[in-house]
Symmetry: C2
Subunit: 212 residues, 2 copies
């Protein structure tokens, strides 16, 4: 199965700006992308990075497309002759098992929600389905799929729901991640910090060279 | 299967104090508890609320136990002669399917993580396993289970991971909930609010009577 992984490297992860400078955010975003691509390849599927800028991630094919996320993805969905998955690049907790669940679930449109209302991953088996990632896309995608008469399935996955956008999300990565992005965070000195509520992160006093 | 649902009604959901007064927090916590108990009953299992204070929730049996959460749960785990589940009371997004996955997964100890490092649900099929809900309990429970030689299974569920503790969690309930707690939130005037990042909530100007 073709798995499209959209990536916007122009100014990634701005909501982490309080913790990371521009160069760090680029490194971290690429480490997360690498984690996603690795799982796609490990499960024998065909990744295609749909990138707003030229990019190299191992031997993964990259298609540079400067249009909006939704337009770029829709062109691929409508041109596809078989099932296509779209998996966001900021899901470093993704595992082989989580991707298998997504890709093997029956349905014309299979949706995996993100925390905060986004659509973190989907499979489309109909060229009639169109995405619109603007705003609270999950409920909109479910409605769209039903309107075109598609059989809709929903995946209940913490690993697919956890896109990493905000400082608190980094705790999830340190708790449950094992890939490049987690290692990058640890190398930057981030560690779990337990307090009264949910576990958060703190930065320890390791020497690190800012990348910019 | 016996499903223990611990509930502490003494001062529930303090991290929602900026939005709700004491009476509201009590009502909301009970609405979430009702949602969890309903799913346990709907799937043909036997709920037991382990409560720090006397409580009535429909026809659900309640055992009042003033000891700490961990001590109260451990006594039940160690006395059990068959599999026991422990499901937190603040999981209003739980569905029949999510509970089925938890309870039917093979393993001596089956764990479902919570956002922020907690253990939101588990099944124990060995009287050797003990819980300790203090701090970052998920990784500790996994270690404990392995140390006693138990076969450990992990459930990857957004619905079980989403305990409702903080204001942002309310958005998840309005996005994906359908039970008593979601209805209670709507009745209080809460609606989804979309902005630049994740969907949040806003309170509309409905007339409502504070319960205290």
């Amino acid at each position: 199965m073709r798995v499209i992984v959209p990536f916007d490297g122009r100014d990634p992860k701005t909501r982490l700006s309080a913790l990371f400078d521009y160069g760090d955010r680029n490194e971290f975003a690429r480490a997360m992308l690498q984690d996603v691509v690795s799982v796609v390849q490990d499960t024998g599927r065909d990744p295609l990075i749909l990138s707003s800028t030229p990019l190299e991630i191992g031997d993964c094919p990259v298609s540079v497309d400067e249009r909006s996320l939704s337009r770029a993805v829709n062109e691929r969905l409508q041109a596809a002759s078989s099932a296509v998955a779209v998996v966001m690049a900021d899901l470093p907790l993704i595992t082989d098992a989580a991707l298998e669940r997504l890709c093997t679930r029956e349905g014309d449109v299979v949706l995996a929600r993100g925390v905060g209302g986004g659509t973190n991953a989907l499979v489309s088996r109909t060229s009639d389905f169109e995405v619109d990632y603007h705003g609270n896309s999950y409920l909109a995608h479910r409605s769209t799929a039903r309107e075109i008469g598609a059989a809709v399935a929903e995946i209940d996955s913490y690993r697919l729901a956890t896109d990493v956008d905000e400082p608190d999300d980094l705790a999830e990565l340190l708790l449950h991640g094992e890939g490049h992005a987690t290692q990058w965070l640890r190398d930057q000195g981030f560690r779990l910090a337990s307090g009264a509520g949910r576990t958060t992160v703190r930065r320890t006093d390791v020497t690190h060279e800012p990348s910019q």
